[in-house]
């Protein structure tokens, strides 16, 4: 058996080392938390009424957010797949794709500008009907709206690809059998999308379960706190580390179980372009109206907050913003950390995918006895972030920074880099791994028989097929890192700040004009990198 493993050692060893490094980091942080918790109580014993209340609300809001996001995602993807000629459809789909990388603080700021107490909607309502919506954006409703905004569009983008992958012959069959729209959905479309629905649901639930920035800003009061926000408050506001640790353990236990059961589910967030061939007949009138209305309403729901950021941001005093030393420091820190994070992410992703595909291919090691164990191990190490939410990760590093004295910038940088890489890995693996598996399926025999391996194989056989996805992953990882407001909330200070943390500070001190300007800079940076970087990569050539 080991002789067979030896044949693939050049791709196995680096990937397995990265996998073990990530798992060791997780175990090390776990023991740091455990060591500091100073408690021998079992998990059930720490479930005090206060913690139980937090847990109940965390699960409740995550469940509701998931249900709404998935329902909206299905209806929107279905509508888009049947309305290929909807005006600016391609632009809308591109914007839905970008929802994954939009900094949550920007989304929250945009939603406040539209739906907040002094928002556009309230102004219109007061002028026309003399009715105020007051604070409906703060509390459960606000949390749900923001989660649906981010995750509904992500679900729609993932499901659209599934809808468009349905062979057109199946639609022809449905048409020839005289299926109604509902019957067609039940017999043709649902079977094709249900796997993606379940996998996207599990991802969305985990994202909402560990959501931080949205709940922090829109939660309003402690009765709408989730575990993540309660950890933040225990560390930063109450200085109650032992309570934070109890919460962290609970959060960690639940997340690990959830991730373990969902890590084998497949997700599709690839950068594969949509735009399948059109079905050559028109939809029934009723269905057409529903589809167009859905796209229009959700397009508006998605675009308005971004538009609000642009409109408010245009009037900001940029001379003042750009000359602020804290802004410059935050900007530099953000760019350096995002660049490093994206490079480390793509490096880890290529090595992990390279090792993992050995266990998926019959011509390699798929038949070996340990194949499934190694495959699960690599998948699990790549989805650790979902199991170790950023605040728990941050708490671990926070405790380490208390134990091992070093400049605060050192621990903050290390913590941010670790969190950003772990945060990007689940997405980057789901993009790069299928592409690498495809090239191996196609060219393995040829490469093995011709003795093409190592760097030569990467340059001639992998890069031409991966370059676009690599560009997309670097852009995705850069943008995710740029917009994160998780760990920095524990380490952020006047001396060490990132753009989202700086923006959060401006919002908290009601410097609305400056906040709008910084938000527009952040939004432009994120969208610019996300749209342009993959294009640069797709144009590069191999001789």
């Amino acid at each position: 058996m080991f002789k067979k493993y030896g044949r693939f050692k050049s791709s196995l060893i680096p990937g397995l080392l990265i996998s073990f490094f990530l798992l060791t980091l997780a175990v090390f942080l776990f023991f740091t938390l455990y060591e500091n918790s100073n408690t021998n109580e079992s998990l059930f014993a720490v479930l005090s009424p206060r913690i139980l209340k937090l847990l109940k609300f965390t699960v409740f809001q995550a469940t509701l957010s998931t249900i709404f996001s998935i329902l909206i995602g299905i209806v929107l993807a279905w509508s888009l797949s049947h309305q290929q000629k909807f005006p600016n459809r391609a632009l809308l789909v591109a914007l839905f794709s970008s929802s994954l990388v939009l900094p949550t603080i920007i989304v929250v700021l945009g939603l406040i500008t539209i739906l907040g107490r002094n928002g556009w909607l309230n102004h219109i309502s007061l002028n026309l009907f003399n009715h105020s919506f007051e604070g409906f954006l703060y509390g459960l409703s606000g949390i749900l709206i923001a989660h649906v905004y981010l995750n509904g569009s992500y679900a729609a983008r993932s499901l659209l690809h599934s809808f468009e992958s349905i062979p057109k012959e199946k639609y022809k069959l449905a048409k020839s059998l005289g299926f109604s729209t509902c019957k067609r959905f039940y017999y043709i479309e649902w079977p094709a999308i249900k796997t993606t629905v379940f996998s996207v649901s599990s991802i969305v639930f985990l994202l909402c379960f560990t959501s931080f920035a949205i709940v922090l800003i829109l939660g309003g009061n402690p009765s709408y706190n989730t575990l993540e926000v309660a950890i933040y408050e225990a560390v930063k506001l109450d200085f109650d580390i032992s309570f934070a640790l109890e919460l962290a353990f609970l959060q960690l236990s639940i997340s690990v179980v959830l991730v373990f059961f969902t890590s084998s589910l497949k997700t599709d967030i690839s950068n594969i372009k949509t735009g399948s061939e059109m079905i050559p007949w028109s939809e029934p009138f009723g269905a057409k109206i529903v589809q167009k209305f859905t796209i229009f309403i959700f397009g508006l729901f998605f675009l308005l907050p971004l538009l609000a950021i642009v409109v408010d941001g245009v009037g900001a005093d940029y001379m003042k913003i750009l000359s602020s030393s804290i802004f410059i420091k935050s900007f530099d820190t953000s760019i350096v950390i995002a660049t490093l994070s994206s490079l480390i992410t793509i490096f880890f992703t290529l090595l992990l995918s390279g090792a993992k595909r050995n266990f998926a291919l019959k011509s390699r090691l798929a038949d070996s006895k340990l194949a499934s164990i190694f495959e699960i191990l690599i998948s699990f190490s790549g989805t650790l972030y979902l199991a170790i939410p950023s605040l728990v990760l941050g708490l671990g590093f926070f405790l380490l920074s208390q134990k091992f004295l070093a400049p605060q910038a050192f621990w903050a940088t290390f913590a941010l880099l670790s969190a950003n890489v772990l945060m990007s890995l689940p997405f980057s693996l789901s993009i790069i791994y299928p592409a690498m598996l495809k090239t191996a399926t196609r060219y393995d025999k040829l490469c093995f028989s011709l003795g093409i391996g190592g760097i030569k194989r990467f340059i001639y056989c992998e890069w031409p097929f991966l370059k676009e996805s690599i560009g997309y992953v670097i852009a995705l990882s850069f943008c995710l890192s740029l917009g994160d407001l998780g760990i920095i909330s524990l380490f952020g200070s006047q001396d060490f700040s990132t753009l989202p943390w700086y923006l959060y500070g401006l919002m908290g001190s009601y410097k609305n004009s400056d906040a709008s300007g910084v938000a527009l800079i952040l939004l432009s940076l994120v969208l610019g990198v996300f749209i342009l970087l993959p294009k640069v990569f797709s144009r590069s050539r191999v001789a």
Binding site: K4, R7, R442, K445, L446, F448, S449, P464
Partner: protein, 210 residues
């Protein structure tokens, strides 16, 4: 002499276990045809010979040397697959050079392309060629690799009649002039009739000389 002795492979599916057991031999300059219906083990046999699958028993001996345990690239053979013989995004010349260890003179590439009827094609990208032309490039590379065993895994499926005849003639000529051991897996018995010196049928995981 190429001698395949009791080469045994076991393959489990959810419902059943398939056991393959192959024995055959070939002389230098001989073309061995292997025919059989789909799923009977034709490609498994080639995968075992080329080292993509490891047998549980048996031996492959080429000119007195056992090939068992050697990785595909270390085996003295070159293979023509049904698909994906070339990197479509690379030029014809690059595709040929990639398969050769060490340096190779430009003149030799021109000569080999001329031999397969593709002179002047060296700078064309592989994806711009027709299926038949792509297979001829792959054959040209196989010849330059200068290995004693040539394995053909249904390489002419899907080609038009004229190109197919041309390719079959090329394989026959090359086998004879270079004194190769050539094994051709195909589901077309007529191809074997045209060029094979002997033909085996694969049935239920075993070889029978026809």
């Amino acid at each position: 002499m190429l001698d395949i002795k009791d080469l045994t492979y076991r393959y489990k599916t959810q419902n059943q276990e398939n056991i393959y057991n192959f024995s055959l031999n070939a002389k230098k300059g001989e073309i061995v045809g292997i025919v059989g219906a789909s799923g009977n083990g034709k490609s498994t046999l080639l995968d075992l010979i080329s080292g993509f699958l490891e047998p549980i028993e048996g031996d492959i001996v080429c000119d007195g040397t056992s090939l068992i345990g050697l990785s595909p690239q270390k085996r003295p053979m070159t293979i023509l697959f049904q698909n994906y013989n070339l990197f479509e995004h690379l030029s014809v010349e690059k595709n040929i050079r990639l398969g050769i260890q060490g340096k190779i003179e430009q003149k030799k590439i021109y000569e080999i392309l001329q031999l397969v009827g593709l002179d002047g094609y060296e700078n064309k990208t592989a994806k711009t060629l027709s299926g038949g032309q792509q297979q001829r490039v792959a054959l040209a590379r196989s010849l330059l690799r200068d290995k004693p065993i040539l394995l053909l895994d249904e390489p002419f499926t899907g080609l038009d009649f004229d190109t197919r005849m041309l390719m079959l003639k090329l394989v026959k000529d090359i086998t004879k002039t270079k004194n190769l051991y050539t094994m051709m897996v195909t589901h077309e018995l007529s191809d074997c009739d045209k060029i094979a010196d002997k033909v085996y049928e694969v049935k239920n995981g075993k070889l029978t000389l026809l």
